[in-house]
Assembly symmetry: C2
Homo-oligomer: 562 residues x 2
């Protein structure tokens, strides 16, 4: 792409190496401390755990927030595909810390695409520097998945600003002491707006109003009332914010808020999928280290009379390979999706945009649901030690559990996939997805035994997808409840297939490199991972197909008597 | 059975009703307090959370520990099948509390079967009253799953007692302030014992030595050094115990300790499976209540313009039905297994004993792995609220995670199933299990449409089991690593099939009762649950079959380079 014509692979490698060092040295140590201390709330103020402020200052200093943002506003302008790799490292180091830049990225993306020139000039610079952070204010006590119920009021004032009043909950980094200012993006409703989701408008509500010289000035009427006591990501403050006639600035037109918010949400949803990969990778690395170290029991094949490291035992290998293949499958899928997002952004052709949008709920849904599974396996490999908090595996299991919930639950992703990405175009993009997979199968068929074995399983899984797709398109017309009864199975089928496809493409690339003489352990294991995934994970697609095709009625007919 | 000829169903019902009231009123309130406060360790003593001591005193007073133990030693003598129901209720009320009686039950069972007359006379009375509690001391820092590495020493003294020295870890209720005395059953090694598991002996080590009049006297040399900071079951103290020439009493012969311990472990493993059901039921009840209460979003079918309780949304119903069917499937399997254990104990015919022993790892493995899944779904149904600790769903997710680990990890259960219960008799009992399922299929085939649909899926799942069994028997001879690479998939296949079979039998019984005119919602929903399970859960058996038959090589070939 022209936009990235001056990005050299070697520069990107150097940037990622440098970021990796930063994450390993500065961020990793925060993870356990932050989990133990948590963010604290006292007298209306949030205090972050020890070490966070220093690390965040270093993060700003090194300019990491700017990585993928446009040079025009002070960004470095690297592709999203590079940004995804960087984001994974940061969140693997500490997901609680990673949430602050993640939300800021979302605010930047929304302002870039929907803000006025003046708004861009005011807010983008400090956000891209990381000196200010961003938040998304959607949820209210009665309005979670159902944004149509948002009740926060926005009353237009004579000067063109709006007075924002209401209560927002579950606001990630809604209050903290890491940045000079916090820019809240807030969904609210003007007095004469239509009811439901079509009457929402989006506002910029800076925590400190910005002076004409661009510096933060007087406090706005936004107060943090409390923060939540959570299962995980305890160093990430989850705030209840009270807006009491706070000054807000309309983004775009009135009643177009949901549309703008979707831009921000799509970026954030992709990023949360990447958090799932990050958390899976961290769990895997920890479990792998333990499995190499812990000596217990003789091998079952009798080849040694001595106890061996547990990594020698077949079931421990099974769990490790399951963790690894799910993680690498998610990573391959997210990288490919980031590439599609880059192309969609810069080329803007409808097919690429549609392909990218088809993939986003898969990345979010698959990578986050799998992260919960991977983190759970990470505990299991540790045995009893996994249940002891000091070991660290338990924190990943706790942290992971928010991933399939925030930025839209798995069911919301599934509704998005089925309603917007599959039904709306009559399955056109979904069929293109299947056709591309069939192309990969053809290449696998002419490969070696491993490639052929992967191809066989991939074809079966694609067959399950196509059968489910046909059924969905048919039933969405005649029995919408039955279609949505299978929405999450359809999402998981699609995501499982997509990750397996990407691993298969990786195996083909690895084989090509090996054929060219690069016979490294890395390439061999890429193929091993793809084969394991094909034989152990792809068969799950047939189960999801069975649930979709034969399971709707029993689900809808069941009752829940007292 | 003659042994239970005087047990009237009405009496059993009354006893369980009374126990249910006790659990709901006295134990349920402990659960959240105990989780918040946790057991505390100070100056070598463990203090239990507020309310535990009072509740436990009431537990003793009402004689609940005695429920299933023999009348000869002061027990009530009810069948194990009734005991399983009672145990589920207690652990659903508070798993941390339930662990104390659970361990005591295990100690009672071991003493009944292997203790001398004098030992029975000394210890059984107070244990069955619940005035004393029991513990199992197996694990040491270097000896977890691998009991052959136990290093605690037992040196015979002139008076016939033994001096026990060593460190034991992960001792559930190893120290607490609820009972007058704690009876530790300890695996240790005499100086001239063979190395490995065959050199272990089992000892009774009372925390307070028992006076000739049967009362607790001087403190034994057993010290609690610390307790663990755990992910869950925080009110259950997990102790590190130091034995410093403590006085121990040999059970049975020297070097027969593992055999005796297996008696205790089998009872405890079954009980931990029941804990899994208990935790699943509690999670389900909590999620169901929330789903009825929480109003969010219009129905997807457009039948209402108003937001509805989320239980109306298809995917929430899917999650609830998954929770319910897994829970009821586990419960049916555990109840049937308890019946087999009763028959095995009282009739003692080899076939019944073998059938009961085949089922124990299934109950432990399936019900505990599924409990983790069910508790995770319980959070998902709550959305963001599920991640907030005060909601309560998160505690179940944390508590559940120990279940597939303690009393033998899922892999240990799988090795037990494959090694001892399937390979050793050449698959005879496994084939009997399949044959009994085929009998149920024949009955389903002549039933109504629901019964036939259940029968079709059950037959497919049984086919997957038989294919996997054939493969296992074949490969255990020629490639033992390949067989054990599929051990956990084989366990999960077997457990998933067993639970589905039991639900199918329940559906037939419900239909018979309906045909006889009892047309209740309870019976209708029994059939609905079985049908859902058949269509949504049983298809997983085919996936496990694929993993076993085609997945061993890719698993064993994979490497983990640095």
């Amino acid at each position: 792409m022209d936009a990235y014509s001056d990005c050299e692979l070697s520069d990107i490698g150097a940037a990622l190496e440098s970021y990796a060092r930063f994450c390993a040295e500065q961020i990793v140590p925060l993870s356990h401390i932050g989990d133990t201390l948590g963010a604290r709330f006292e007298n209306g103020r949030v205090t972050m755990p020890e070490g966070d402020a220093q690390a965040y200052a270093r993060f700003i200093e090194m300019g990491w927030q700017a990585l993928t943002h446009p040079a025009e506003y002070g960004g470095i302008g690297l592709p999203r595909a590079v940004g995804a790799a960087a984001k994974e490292m940061l969140n693997a180091a500490d997901m609680s810390f990673g949430l602050c830049p993640l939300l800021t990225d979302g605010a930047i993306e929304a302002l870039l695409l929907t803000g006025s020139d003046e708004q861009k000039a005011t807010y983008l610079g400090p956000l891209i520097e990381g000196r200010w952070s961003g938040t998304m204010n959607l949820t209210e006590p009665q309005a979670g998945s159902d944004l149509g119920r948002v009740a926060t009021k926005a009353v237009r004032r004579a000067d063109g600003t709006y007075g924002i009043s209401g209560t927002k909950i579950f606001i990630t980094y809604g209050a903290h002491d890491l940045t000079e200012n916090i820019i809240h993006l807030v969904l609210a409703r003007t007095p004469d707006a239509p009811s439901g989701p079509k009457g929402l408008s989006l506002f910029i509500v800076p925590q400190k109003l910005v002076e004409p010289d661009g510096t933060p000035g007087a406090e706005n009427a936004v107060n943090c009332v409390s923060i939540e006591h959570k299962l995980g990501v305890r160093a990430s403050p989850t705030a209840v914010l009270e807006y009491d006639d706070a000054t807000g600035f309309l983004i775009g037109e009135e009643n177009s808020g949901l549309e703008h918010m979707f831009i921000m949400m799509n970026a954030a949803r992709f990023s949360v999928g990447v958090q799932g990969i990050a958390l899976s990778e961290r769990s895997y690395q920890r479990a792998l280290a333990y499995a190499r170290d812990r000596v217990q029991s003789r091998p079952v094949n009798g080849q040694s009379k001595h106890a061996v490291p547990i990594i020698e035992h077949p079931d421990v290998r099974r769990m490790l390979m399951r963790m690894r293949s799910l993680t690498e499958g998610g990573r391959a899928m997210a990288a490919a999706t980031a590439g599609l997002l880059d192309m969609a952004h810069h080329r803007g052709d409808p097919e690429t945009i549609a392909e990218a949008e088809f993939m986003v709920p898969l990345v979010k849904g698959f990578c986050t649901e799998r992260a919960v599974e991977v983190a759970s396996l990470g505990i299991q490999i540790h045995g009893g030690m996994g249940f002891i908090e000091e070991t660290g595996a338990a924190q990943h299991y706790r942290d992971a559990r928010i991933l399939p919930i925030y930025e839209g639950t798995t069911a919301i992703q599934a509704n998005d996939l089925l309603g917007r990405k599959v039904m709306r175009d009559g399955g056109a993009i979904a069929r293109l997805f299947a056709a591309r997979i069939a192309e990969t199968e053809a290449r696998l068929a002419s490969g070696d035994a491993s490639a052929q074995a992967i191809g066989t399983r991939l074809a079966q899984a694609r067959g399950a997808f196509e059968a489910a797709l046909d059924w969905m398109l048919e039933n969405s017309r005649k029995d919408i409840d039955a279609a949505f009864a299978g929405s999450v199975p359809f999402l998981m089928l699609s995501g499982t297939l997509a990750a397996g496809w990407m691993l298969a493409k990786g195996a083909l690339a690895a084989q090509t490199a090996r054929d060219a003489g690069q016979d490294t352990a890395f390439l061999t294991q890429k193929i091993a991972t793809a084969l394991f995934y094909a034989q152990h994970i792809l068969p799950e697609c047939a189960t999801e197909q069975a649930r979709i095709l034969h399971g709707a009625q029993s689900l809808l007919d069941a009752a829940f008597p007292d």
